[in-house]
């Protein structure tokens, strides 16, 4: 099939796509967007988290055929031209990145959380990030990073 959809606000097209291949494969192997990571391939680990029509989803579970004419936002869409997004900066500053493999999925999930809930409680952060597994088990620093990002966004909103 000829696949057409919107990625990070731009129209994307790919030819000779098998409808049954995953959105994750399309992003990584056909569109040169390897930020979304390929780990469990079963929707278990969250490292391929993207936003599909605005809501967080595991790209490994979505078939290419299901994406036709829809909107996808990946971790590559977070940063501006020259600077990182507030969530990305907070992960760096809080030391929330160890091996880094879970980081892109967590960034998308955290960004999604803060958009829905700008000042989340610790239990809301834990519940919202429950679908993103960090095999380095660096969860405390990840919690710090989300709190920091929430504070900075609130400051930015005030100034």
């Amino acid at each position: 099939m000829r696949l057409k959809f919107t990625v990070n606000g731009r129209q994307a097209e790919a030819d000779d796509v098998w409808e049954g291949e995953s959105l994750l494969y399309v992003l990584r192997e056909r569109l040169g967007l390897p930020g979304s990571k390929n780990a469990c391939e079963q929707g278990e680990c969250g490292s391929c988290t993207v936003r599909l029509d605005g809501v967080a989803a595991c790209a490994c579970l979505v078939a290419a055929g299901q994406v036709q004419d829809r909107e996808v936002d990946t971790v590559e869409g977070l940063a501006g031209e020259d600077e990182l997004d507030a969530v990305q900066r907070a992960f760096v500053d809080a030391g929330a990145v160890q091996c880094g493999f879970c980081t892109p999925g967590l960034l998308v999930a955290a960004d999604d959380l803060l958009e829905r809930c700008p000042s989340p409680s610790d239990s809301e952060i834990r519940e919202s990030l429950a679908g993103n597994l960090c095999r380095c088990t660096g969860y405390e620093k990840i919690m710090d990073a989300v709190r920091l990002a929430a504070d900075r966004r609130a400051e930015e909103a005030r100034s």
Binding site: W18, E19, G20, E41, Q42, G43, G46, T49, L52, V55, A56, A57, C58, C60, L61, V62, A63, G65, Q66, Q68, A109, D112, R126, E127, S128, A130, G131, N132
Partner: protein
Amino acid sequence: MKPFDYQRATDTDTAVATVSRNPNARYLGGGTNLVDHMKLGVSSPELLVDVSRLSSDTVETLPDGGVRVGAAVRNSDLAAEPIIRQRYPVLAHALLAGASGQLRNLATTGGNLLQRTRCVYFQDVTTPCNKREPGTGCSALDGYTRYHAVLGSSEHCVATHPSDMAVALTALDAVVHTQGPSGPRSIPVADLHRLPGDEPDRDTVLEHGELITAVDLPALPMAARSNYRKVRDRASYAFALVSVAAAVDIAGDTIRDVRIAFGGLAHKPWRATLAENALRGAPATEATFRTAADAELAEARPLSDNEFKIPMARNTLTSVLRDLTQQEGS
């Protein structure tokens, strides 16, 4: 994963006809369970007919005061629906107790009902399993059974049903509407799933090609006072060891009416009619709750690793009923 064909359904009749005539065709909803199974080799369909954008994705009020939920409504959307949160809090709580945010955003109402057991032996194609390959034997019987059934199992299968949503729907007397090769029909959710008996490969009473199109919630004023409690090995993103869905109608200190279903105990959501009968007309006391739980659990038969489920089910039901009956009147 084996290659397969994919079609996006354009209308219900064509979808039903297409899947019905091909024994190796399956419907695709949110893909959160079927796609896993295709990757694990548990299931290898030749054709997927995508119905995720076909069935109604709306929640509407019915003339009799009930609510109709389209089969394509996403779990996260249903949990957030104001009418569900107000009139059927047990259902909203059950939905939010399941899976992760990413999965609830994909999973559909119809697909959630038809998800399959998370028995580790069913999902591991290197082990015998009567549900996956009838006649090969049940690996769980002499295996790891912490998550397995204590009610209604058979010598062929001791798996449990994994859905939280289905437990709430069972307590609420919800009704499933389907469209199949023999036409439309309506099935109470309590009768949708089967006990394993000697056909553990059949999870439900649906025939091949039969498509869930909607789920109706009856008008049930007492459901405004309802709750779902799930006990699991970690605070989030885990399947139930035991869960309880309950709704109570109380007058003074007397239980006028009650609805109870258990999850995590059986091959299907377990409607606790014996406990309900023991509670109707009885005083709302701790002793009554325990007697009712014991009545339901008298026939429970634990396996080597899950004897704890019986006191856990009794304690969970007792605490849910205590909280519901002490709640301010609604």
